[in-house]
């Protein structure tokens, strides 16, 4: 087990460094970050002053090294727009995004797993068809549009829920549904496929033959094994959802890290954007690492690969 964890950890760290280099390089994509920062009306001298002030006149690798050393200590520089440390800006906003992410994945699991199990127990039944329809529709649904439609129906027409903001739990209902529905189809399909495969296996027949009750067969024997791949998919989806929360947060004006990312991109606030890309990537890397370790612990066969 330990060699597997160490190997997997090494890979995660290597990926993290590569991602950090890419997100830092984004700054140089425009050619001259000083000119971009100074704006179109700036004179040549202004641009030169900014270049020296921010240290853009030094080699890119030197700048990356310094940025990385600082970032490892939790210092991501100062936001061009807010004139505040990026780290504290993001820390303020992260709780909203994390709440949304946890609610979203919980909603997705609570709908997808029972639906997937029910669909697998009775293939081609009404439930199976409803589940298939929901997953096919979910994959084609633009989340920004789904969010707006929910606002029109539940906030404007019916007046049941607040259309935007993040002050009470009621503000999180619609964003949770939108973000959760985004992750639901994949989880549902995997649960259904896993259950179908397990249910046709020999040990389920044995369990039934020895007279175990149907409920016991389903939950103790079948679901336990079918759920293993779902655990790692849920972790991957959680990572994607945090990155995807930018859309949901902008639709519902939830002032979380995703909303901050959107604002900062529009304002050319590159230090904030770099830090956010790095942090969202880190979440993904950490979640997938934990999922792989958990998987290896649950299923020893995984440790060899």
């Amino acid at each position: 087990m330990l060699p597997f964890i160490l190997k997997r950890l090494g890979l995660a760290i290597l990926v993290a460094f590569t991602v950090s280099f890419i997100s830092f390089s984004l700054l140089f994509l425009s050619g001259d970050p000083a000119a971009a920062l100074a704006g179109e009306t700036a004179s040549g001298e202004d641009v030169e002053a900014i270049r020296v002030l921010y240290g853009f006149n030094r080699p890119m690798l030197v700048q990356y090294g310094e940025w990385l050393v600082q970032a490892l200590q939790g210092n991501f520089g100062e936001s061009y727009y807010f004139k505040l440390p990026v780290a504290s800006l993001i820390a303020d906003r992260l709780s909203v995004t994390m709440t949304l992410g946890v609610c979203g994945i919980t909603f997705a699991l609570l709908t997808a797993v029972p639906l997937g199990v029910a669909a697998a127990i009775r293939p081609n039944s009404i439930i199976d068809r409803v589940a298939l329809f929901l997953s096919v529709a979910g994959q084609a649904m633009p989340s920004f549009w789904f969010g707006l439609i929910l606002i029109v129906v539940f906030a404007i027409k019916l007046g049941w829920l607040p259309p935007s903001g993040a002050t009470t739990w009621r503000h999180f209902i619609m964003p949770t549904i939108v973000l959760g529905y985004y992750a639901m189809p994949a989880i549902m399909r995997l649960t259904r496929a896993g259950m179908l495969e397990v249910l046709s296996s020999d040990y389920i027949r044995t369990a039934r033959a020895k007279g175990a009750g149907e409920g016991r067969v389903m939950f103790k024997h079948a679901l336990r094994n079918a759920i293993i791949p779902v655990v790692s998919l849920a972790a991957v989806q959680m990572g994607f959802m945090l990155g995807g929360s930018i859309v949901v947060e902008s639709v519902f004006a939830l002032h979380g890290a995703g909303y901050l990312a959107w604002e900062s991109i529009a304002r050319n606030d590159l230090p904030t954007v770099q830090a956010l890309i790095l942090i969202f990537s880190m979440f993904y890397i950490i979640f997938t690492f934990l999922a792989d370790v958990l998987n290896a612990w649950l299923d020893p066969r995984m440790r060899s690969s």
Binding site: V15, I22, S23, P142, G243, V247, I285
Partner: protein, 300 residues
């Protein structure tokens, strides 16, 4: 009666329908695939013949006739789907929007397909270090938040059709690489590949004429699904204001422009969203259907 004539029906009875007949039956019996093909074909026609079908110019503004409601909400046939906040004919913008979506989906999927297939096939065929590098790159790519990176790059380079296509093409190769790698691994050990190598065929030749034809089915399925993915992402970027720029008629942009008047005129948001949903749904159904038809045993 000749021997041939007596044998033929017998042969048919023994051997059953020909592969071609089986395939045809599978295709026509697959409702999702038929629906998907039909809708996609229809929207491609709409996109190609947009100038003939659109009742008005998608760009022409007329401030005197702003926010006319669609015909089913009491409007007139002059503007069947009404007009937007600048008095532009909504139906014409939707029709031209099909061009934007399909063009971006197709070209982005072709770029990412080329990159991903090259990486995946190389990883699967050569294995070892090449495989390790490709797997690592896939991991790095998956760790980057797509929407965020795409938004940032478009913001820096400026929003135009070319930039959006380029960014999506360079970002969406991960699924191609994963699937092509797995498919190549499956066929690499087959006898016919070993036979081609044994008679001294070059690597290029083995890959192009022995490996590729046997994994092209999977490739087509992924091309379809990634096309849908690219179309959704373009709409998302344009909705967030950092994709295709006005006045280009993009469905995502139309939703974004209608958003401000959503309180009173929800149809401005509803209509482009429904069209986008139907197109992506149809492409996905087509992709799923193609997978079922070409590889029935991999159905899940």
């Amino acid at each position: 009666m000749t021997v041939q004539q007596t044998i033929d029906p017998l042969l048919e009875e023994i051997s059953g329908p020909t592969p071609r007949q089986i395939l045809r039956k599978r295709v026509t019996g697959h409702k999702g695939l038929i629906f998907g093909l039909f809708v996609v074909f229809l929207l491609v026609l709409v996109a190609v013949f947009a100038p003939l079908l659109a009742p008005h110019s998608p760009y022409e503004q007329s401030l005197g006739s702003r926010m006319i409601e669609p015909v089913f909400l009491g409007g007139t046939w002059e503007h069947p789907l009404g007009t937007d906040h600048l008095g532009r004919d909504y139906m014409s913008r939707l029709i031209y929007g099909a061009r934007v979506s399909l063009l971006i989906g197709l070209v982005a999927a072709m770029i990412s397909g080329t990159i991903g297939t090259a990486m995946g096939v190389a990883a699967g065929y050569f294995g070892g270090k090449v495989d390790a590098v490709v797997t690592f790159l896939i991991n790095v790519r998956l760790a980057m938040p797509v929407v965020l990176v795409a938004l940032a790059v478009v913001a820096i380079l400026g929003g135009s059709l070319q930039v959006v296509i380029g960014v999506l093409g360079l970002l969406l190769w991960d699924r191609f690489a994963v699937v092509m790698r797995a498919s190549t691994l499956q066929v690499r050990r087959r006898e016919y590949v070993a036979a081609a190598q044994a008679i001294g065929a070059s690597t290029t030749r083995v890959v192009l004429s022995e490996i590729m034809p046997n994994i092209v089915n999977n490739l087509i399925v992924i091309v379809t699904l990634e096309m849908a993915h690219a179309i959704l992402l373009e709409a998302t970027l344009s909705f967030l204001g950092l994709g295709v720029q006005p006045p280009t008629p993009s469905w995502g942009l139309m939703v974004s422009e209608g958003k401000n008047m959503m309180l009173f005129e929800p149809w401005l948001v509803l209509i482009p969203g429904v069209v986008l949903f139907v197109l992506v749904l149809a492409i996905n159904l087509m992709g799923d259907g193609l997978r079922d038809v070409t590889a029935p045993d991999s159905r899940s």
